[in-house]
Amino acid sequence: MGRTLEEHTHYSRTATALHWLITLLIAAGFTLGATMADLPVSPRKVHLFAYHKWIGITVLGLVCVRLIWRLTHRPPPDEPMPAWQRVVAHATHWLLYLLMIATPLCGWLYSSAAGYPVVYLKIWQLPDLVAKNEALAKVLVEVHGFLAWTLLWVVVLHAAAALKHHFFDHDRTLKRMLGWHRHGNTRSS
């Protein structure tokens, strides 16, 4: 009984690994995206665009894996907290999933509309989602940027809440996602 409870207090290694890997990729992808567009024309700019696209497609793929994992594995139960915080926390999580899919997908759409297809890792050319269309590309790049900034602010909210639980509420909300706990190496969550 005690062991079962212990097992369910943390996220699984798979969930934890995906969480932090995607965190790093989003940070890198966002930083590139926010800076590369204003660079003067140069080979470096072309390379940075390529890396940005590869990161985005990787996030899209990993989030799909993560979503399947999340839907087939029960996460640990919530730490004790007021009902409104629980609602906000869960809403934030699902909004993050939505944005983590919508942002790269919109970037891919934009690439197609702009006539610059995505060639993942310089090897695999992904299919164009829409035909080349300059007017559509102008809209999609704006939407992509809006989604990315929204994602950033929701991530900030999510991280601030985790830190608040850790430092002010002294609960396990953050710890259960840190991965180096002693008992939580279970496949059940």
Binding site: P40, V41, S42, P43, V46, H47, A50, A114, G115, Y116, P117, V118, V119, K122, I123, Q125, K132, E134, A137
Partner: protein, 182 residues
Amino acid sequence: MKRNPLAVFGALTVATAFVATAAGDPSIDAAKSTIVATFKQENVPVDAPFKTFNGRVDYDPAKPNASKAAIEVATGSFDMGSADYNSEVKKKEWLDSGTYPKASFISTSVKPGATGHFDATGTLTLKGKSQTLTVPVTATKTSTASVFDGTLEISRAYFGIGSPEWKDTVDDKVRIKFHLVE
């Protein structure tokens, strides 16, 4: 479709539109035609059209050997889809549109192939350099127009297009695909 002296007479007597189709001086309908260069940067194929060009193809299926083609392209009309890239590609290191505003292909001989196909050999002049090329062309005749399709491949290095810093980013080979409606 040779220039026909009768056309002069015809123009005096028949409606101009009729003359243009029946005995006029056919030339490429730029609005219906396309000339698109496909280059690869970081292995990403990008299609970029030349927006301005003109010329004519004289092709008679009965006398293919007598066929002729002359096409002229405005190098400054190359459209990569964004203003900063378009101005970059006009620079000296690339197409140098200021010094060489026109590129051209003038046929020197035409060798007929299977029905509807011929090989056009001619001189491609680009950025002040010339190269003799043979281009396989497919000719299609519709009720209102003659259509010529083909692709040629050129080397950027041969024509001195692109500064060395781009050597590893943009492929040397560039494919130019044309669809000419006359």
